[in-house]
Amino acid sequence: MNTTRPEINQSISLLDRSMDQKEQNAIEVNNLSIYYGSFRAVKNITLEVPPRKITAIIGPSGCGKSTMLRSFNRMNELVPTAWAEGEVFFQGQNLYAPDVDPVEVRRRIGMVFQKPNPFPKSIFDNIAWGAKINGFKGKKSELDELVTESLKSAALWDEVHDKLDQSGLSLSGGQQQRLCIARTIAVKPDIILMDEPCSALDPIATLKIEELMRELSTEYTIIIVTHNMQQAARVSDYTAFFTMDEDRAGYLMEYGETTQIFTNPKEQVTEDYITGRFG
């Protein structure tokens, strides 16, 4: 852990210089540990996520990838025993400061889940609902426009434009997942978290989602957890490799540009994992 950290910082600073110098990181994690009761699920994570890029989190099962991802929008707190230690900075604000409302965090940092979970409502309402509850006060026409725009951004408009009043559940799995992405975009978050978004989908639907992610990354910061290393290699700009210690606490092993992680990993463990020797 200690040996890897300077390298991470180095890689990030390299990357910063190559991009707009003034641009702030989308998320900065500082020495974060997350616990379920007394069990430490992830420990001492320090990580900087660049804006408008796709960052993939990979690692063996049970190493705390999802826990890590859910800590970015405080979704972990839905588990009654979960608590966190450390800091997660978003636009200079520590998300774990006591006066930060998790509801606000989740509106700014949206999430797409493993299993497509559209609301049992019409396609239109699926997208409009998020805007409505967040205080969207526009006219009906503006709402229509928002729904249209969101569906177009999620590459779903062509398939559903003539059946917006049908239930979201009537769509195929891949379409449902894109509907969930459209729904997330509609509340205009800054960051989209994706928790294994393709693991319940067939290869063609997966490909579509991956294309969509590439398109969205021009506007949004995307952090994706995936079990599929090919997927991480295909879509992500940066990759964080997590593994766990003997207490089953996950930690960040290596973090850097995806090409570097997959072609020239610095750690032997990383290489073993991506070449399929363990995990």
Binding site: L78, P80, V103, F113, F119, P120, G130, I133, R183, V187
Partner: protein, 433 residues
Amino acid sequence: MSAKPAGQGPGAKRSKYRAGLLTTSPGETSNLPARHRVGTIWMVIFQASTIIGIIALMTLLFKVINDSFGYAIISYKTEPATLVESATPIEELTQNDLIAILQVNLTSGRYQTIFKEIAAEDLSQEELVDLVITEVAKPQVAATFTLLESIFEKEEIYQYAIDNFPGGFLTFRNWVSLDFVTSPQSSNPLVAGVRNAILGSLFTIFIAMIFSLPLGVMSAIYLEEYARDNWINRVIRTNINNLAGVPSIIYGILGLAVFVRVLEPVNSGAMFGIGDSSSTANVRTILSAGLTLGLLVLPLVIINAQEAIRSVPRSLREASLGLGGTKWQTVWYHVLPNAIPGTLTGSILAMSRAIGETAPLVVIGASTFITYDPNSPFSKFTTLPIQIYQWTARPQDVWRNLAAAAIIVLLILLLAMNAIAIYLRNRYTRRLA
């Protein structure tokens, strides 16, 4: 070839398979026949238990139907033929003759009571004939027969009627007729009906529902969504389940103590200046009964609502929260709508339990004989089970036919409520899926 396990259907006979066809080594013995045999034995036991249940239900149904239809011998206290001197049957008499008969045979007090509202001359000939028959001739049920007897012992019944009641007549009576449903309670079995009881039942159930449904659903939301998992809440949860098993008469005693005694001014309507405080209703009102039944079903409603809320998938809550929904918005827009079908179904089934309750209503003082409809939450009332209970306790046989008929009405009411429950569940489920 996949072997179908024995006991999968009635046709799965042991002899269908020959054991040991696939046995490789010669010394190996197959225990398969024995295993199949065990399966078959259990299947028969399961089948038998189902059949016993069905037989019990069929017996009940048969008994009730058997009593609800059948011949009845009606005899007159004063035979109509003796009322007129000429040979004309009373149906063909003129209005004046009929009025004369009424004047002669009725006490003047009774005569005035009948014609207080409307003059005798204003009634039609048919109405006067009816009056003469009910008021003067006074038909009575002399004997009743069950449906089975009416079908298979017709001749004997005819003979019996001719021998014993020469002035009466024999009629096939359908006790559970439309008249029975729409007529009020009466001391005369020929005209007695269950209208008051049906209205009383529906009224009390309605009050029980509007009391327990919101309360139960709100409690369930609190317990499922907000209450922390500490020991107090665990004790509460466990005891709600226990409350659902408390005998209903205990709730009657509770209702008597709380609604009838402590809340007397409220539940009698005296506090609002309505309800007749002078009557014998006291606080034995529809409101007291409704609240008692509401209390009785409250635990069931809570449990059903809790289960319905628990069955709303976690992914839906996460989706809502992930979009920046607050806890309240998540509960209101997603958890509740999806929990409605389950809650409604469970609640209506709980209500149909309540509609059959007798014991608590006896304790809080349901009226056993009232002839008018309940017209406010503060009026006296009777309900179908009370009515049935009261009729079966009477000595004359004929009331048992009426009780059977009332049971059929109660069963139909129950079936209707359950049908509504199923309809609502399907309707909402379709809308959501």
